[in-house]
């Protein structure tokens, strides 16, 4: 007599009927060994569910709330940069139309442009809803690596912005903002390329 496979026994525990379930049930009615196997399967699952809950050894909230505060500050700064860009754009228009106006500081403008580009890429990415899309393992790894690097740049920006209040260094800020834009560009590419490959 051929007994039911583990896959067949497992499918009998599912809510819907799969092809072959009816004959499996018929077999079960007449086979003591398979009924016993199904009972053992039920018991094993019940034992797994009853395993004690594992708990973290330390409180991670202080670290997490610190990280959230940094992210919020970086976000606010980026938003402020966007508003600054609008102001810079109006200054640029004034420069073009007014023959005797002074040219604004090039470094600051470049930083504001990089901030605006960064914000635009983040907006494009959030509209793409990457968190709702599945990625294959390799692509997910690349995306995670880029996100980690962006987080690192954000931390460096946070530090650079704190220092900048005491000793302005536009070149350092500009370098970091450009790095952030490059990473975000790559992240958008990773998500969008993957999407076009599978026709989403």
């Amino acid at each position: 007599m051929t007994h039911l496979s583990m896959e067949a026994l497992l499918s009998l525990r599912e809510a819907g009927l799969e092809p072959g379930d009816a004959s499996a049930r018929e077999h079960l009615d007449t086979c003591l060994a398979c009924r016993a196997e199904l009972d053992r399967l039920h018991q094993r699952v019940a034992r797994i569910r009853a395993l004690p809950a594992l708990r973290p050894s330390r409180d991670r909230w202080p670290q997490l709330s610190g990280r959230l505060r940094v992210a919020r500050r970086a976000h606010r700064h980026r938003m402020a940069g966007l508003i600054g860009l609008a102001a810079a754009a109006s200054i640029a228009v004034a420069v073009l139309v007014g023959p005797h106006t002074e040219v604004a500081n090039g470094g600051e403008q470049e930083i504001e442009a990089a901030m605006a580009r960064s914000q635009a890429l983040e907006t494009a990415l959030s509209q793409y809803h990457p968190e709702q899309r599945m990625l294959d393992g390799r692509t997910a790894g690349i995306a995670q690596e880029l996100e980690d690097r962006i987080a690192r740049v954000d931390r460096e920006l946070e530090m650079a912005e704190l220092l900048e209040r005491q000793q302005p260094k536009d070149d350092q800020l500009l370098k970091l903002w450009r790095e952030r834009v490059g990473l975000l560009d790559a992240l958008v590419d990773v998500h969008v390329t993957r999407a076009s490959n599978v026709g989403l």
């Binding site: 007994h3 094993r44 569910r49 395993l51 809950a53 973290p56 959230l68 968190e131 997910a140």
Partner: protein, 178 residues
């Protein structure tokens, strides 16, 4: 499937959306234990599980505005946690050591009277198999949902579950002569 409830969930979510740090902490405190448990059952090390815990809540806090309140709050948090844990497995590229050993030694193990406790047997499963067992048998995800989270097919999820139960059955000494 166990479900976790947060008292005054609607008001906590509304305050969290407004950026109230106290509300974010309430969310964290409410779901910290089940998220960690899920992560620890899927990941190999406590360090990985703690990282998954933090990544999950970082994502929860950042995207609480996108929670649509169509399902349970715990269901939403749990799906983020499961995705983060599976992503961690992919990143770490753990070797499925038990399966490699099985391939090498063939069926010699079957002749050995093995009897482990359940925790040890689960720990011995490959990361992928253990994740499928936990997500399906304990958390109650369907094979289609697991396949979606893993980027695989439902058939893959079903065969992983069947192989895992065959191994658990053997390692737990449940095999009987028929």
């Amino acid at each position: 499937m166990e479900s976790y409830l947060l008292a005054n969930a609607e008001s906590v979510v509304a305050r969290a959306r407004a950026g109230d740090e106290g509300a974010l902490e309430e969310l964290y405190r409410a779901f910290e234990a089940p998220v960690y448990n899920l992560a620890r059952r899927i990941c190999r090390t406590t360090e990985d599980a703690e990282d998954v815990l933090q990544e999950t809540f970082f994502e929860v806090c950042r995207s609480i505005g996108r929670y649509r309140e169509e399902g349970s709050l715990w269901g939403w948090v749990r799906t983020i946690a499961a995705s983060k844990a599976l992503m961690r497995l992919r990143r770490n590229k753990y070797r499925d050591t038990d399966e490699l050993q099985e391939d090498v030694v063939g069926h010699r193990r079957e002749d050995t009277a093995l009897r482990m406790d359940l925790e040890a047997a689960l720990e011995r499963l490959s990361e992928t198999s253990r994740a499928v067992v936990w997500l399906h048998d304990v958390e109650g995800y369907t094979h289609e949902e697991i396949a979606g989270m893993m980027g695989k097919t439902p058939s893959f999820s079903k065969s992983q579950l069947a192989r895992a139960h065959q191994r658990l059955r053997r390692w737990l000494g449940e095999e009987v002569e028929v």
